[in-house]
């Protein structure tokens, strides 16, 4: 048993996304940064999508009553085991009565804490992932609270470290490859220049639903509404007020605002690490080129994460 002493700011159980239910209104959800979830699980010998903790901005403090192995990947964070510093991207053996304290994130927005054997949670609609809006999955569909208990398997993983070349760098300034979407045409040439040349800033209320992008306002040549149509993680909508909104993993599945651009699949995992105030560029990318880049990225990562094509 693992006891939650402090829950952190918003810590949830996350695993694989829910695929193929968007036409019933169920968002894909799952880890907001699937690559980091996979990296954490790899270090404790799990399948990439074993249920783990996703902590947001401030991590939890956990007390163990069994020996097991844990690992941490994602944003930059200071962690202690019984007061002594331990590192991310390394398998950490813990023993009975050990206390693991994950601090505030120094960069990035989320860290993933994986446990050997995976956290034991039932699958709901194909995944153990927590959906906070609809309140299902994980611990009763909610974020962790002090006093919650989690079940992992008492087993120790072999020592492992993530090789240097597979440790993602956290940056406070990122560029996302994006492709034209269905309503990009509602922006004239000048407005497209604003879209692709502006340095956008992630809004204060960034969460698993999405984030407002500040820094400029866009003028769409319509009344700002259209017949409801499918949206996805990475869709950038432009509501009536002209401030673009970037959808993330838990966003609604259909929307009525113009879809002005779509983040390409290969960069979707980065959305999970964007925190309020981060700077962001949207790079105009040809869709076929984005597919080529996705496959090249898969080829790079496959050596460390053989399932990479299911992860990103």
């Amino acid at each position: 048993m693992i006891r939650v002493l402090k829950p952190g700011l918003q810590t949830t159980i996350q695993s694989r996304p829910r695929i193929g239910l968007r036409h019933r209104g169920v968002p894909s959800g799952g880890a907001a940064d699937q690559l980091s979830l996979a990296l954490a699980n790899k270090l404790v010998g799990n399948k990439w999508d074993a249920p783990a903790l996703e902590a947001t901005l401030i991590g939890p403090t956990l007390l163990f009553d069994k020996s097991c192995s844990v690992s941490i990947a994602g944003g930059k964070v200071a962690t202690t085991l019984n007061g002594a510093p331990v590192k991310s991207h390394e398998c950490i053996p813990v023993r009975v009565n050990d206390e693991l304290a994950i601090g505030g994130l120094l960069s990035g927005a989320r860290v993933y804490i994986a446990f050997s054997g995976g956290l034991q949670f039932e699958s709901v609609l194909g995944s153990a992932s927590t959906n906070l809006q609809a309140a299902f999955g994980g611990v009763d569909g909610r974020a962790l609270q002090a006093g919650d208990t989690l079940r992992a398997l008492a087993r120790l993983a072999d020592n492992a470290k993530t090789p240097d070349e597979f440790r993602p760098r956290s940056l406070a300034s990122v560029a996302l490859r994006t492709c034209e979407a269905m309503e990009t045409d509602l922006l004239d040439d000048a407005q497209r220049t604003v879209l692709f040349e502006s340095k956008w800033q992630v809004g204060q209320r960034a969460d698993r639903m999405g984030m407002r992008l500040g820094g400029a306002l866009l003028d769409v040549t319509s009344d700002g509404r259209m017949p409801s149509a499918a949206v996805f993680p990475g869709t950038v909508q432009c509501p009536e007020d002209g401030a673009p909104y970037l959808l993330s993993v838990d966003a609604g599945t259909v929307g009525g605002y113009p879809r002005i651009v779509q983040v390409a699949r290969l960069d979707l995992h980065i959305l999970g690490q964007l925190r309020p105030g981060d700077r962001l560029r949207l790079l105009r990318t040809d869709p076929d080129e984005a597919v080529d880049l996705l496959r090249a990225k898969h080829d790079y990562w496959r050596e460390w994460l053989p399932d990479i094509a299911a992860i990103i």
């Binding site: 209104g25 569909g141 499918a230 996805f232 609604g252 259909v254 390409a264």
Partner: protein, 210 residues
């Protein structure tokens, strides 16, 4: 019309919501797509760009479109939705009726007179868009959306009724509430409604058990 709408998406534009539903079912049958999501007048298909060439995805979709849209059979069954209208259950009903210059009983009589099709399920799990309201009932959405609309709320906006399966923020005008569970993640089939189904609203009298 078939349009590439991102690196791994194609959008098919259609004439009607019924066409969108029928086409989505036809595309889904081939069972080779990550998502097939109908909208009011479109279907968006997401393919697995790691395994399928974009040209190949386009070719397969074009073949389905060229084959023509086969209308879905209209289901015999009509799902009855009991609704407690007005008062605390429908806090916007009074204001909507005043603006539409009809009485609340007139609104309820019209809203319960017709069998309506489910046009779309989406936004949140189980949220149902139900069309098309009689023109006397068309009313714009609220200028200021509510931070929280209770689950079970029956609401109207523009030409549609929306059923809030779960509590969520929302801008539709709440006219009543149903006790039916539209989404239950623990049930074998978690969804009460799906696109193409037909519903009728049944008014609960004051004092009826919700």
């Amino acid at each position: 019309m078939l349009t590439r709408s991102a690196d791994d998406q194609f959008c098919l534009s259609v004439k009607s919501t019924a066409d969108a539903q029928a086409l989505a079912v036809q595309i889904q049958e081939s069972n080779q797509w990550l998502d097939v999501v109908p909208g009011i007048n479109s279907v968006v298909v997401r393919f697995d760009a790691a395994r399928m060439e974009p040209d190949d995805a386009e070719y397969r979709l074009r073949k389905i479109v060229d084959h023509g849209i086969e209308p879905l059979a209209i289901p015999e069954q009509i799902v009855e939705i009991p609704v407690a209208y007005g008062g605390n259950n429908g806090p916007d009903l009074e204001r909507v009726c005043k603006s539409l210059e009809i009485t609340q009983p007139e609104f309820i009589a019209l809203h319960t007179a017709k069998v309506f099709p489910v046009e779309l399920v989406g936004f949140t799990p189980g949220f149902a868009f139900i069309g098309e309201l009689q023109s006397q009932l068309h009313f714009p959405r609220r200028k200021e959306p509510r931070q929280s609309v209770p689950g079970g709320s029956v609401a109207v906006a523009d030409s549609r009724t929306g059923l809030y399966a779960l509590s969520s923020p929302g801008g539709w005008n709440i006219v009543g509430r149903t006790s039916l569970r539209l989404f239950d993640s623990a049930a074998e089939d978690p969804f009460l409604l799906s696109p193409g189904m037909r519903v009728r609203f049944v008014p609960l009298q004051n004092g009826d058990q919700q």
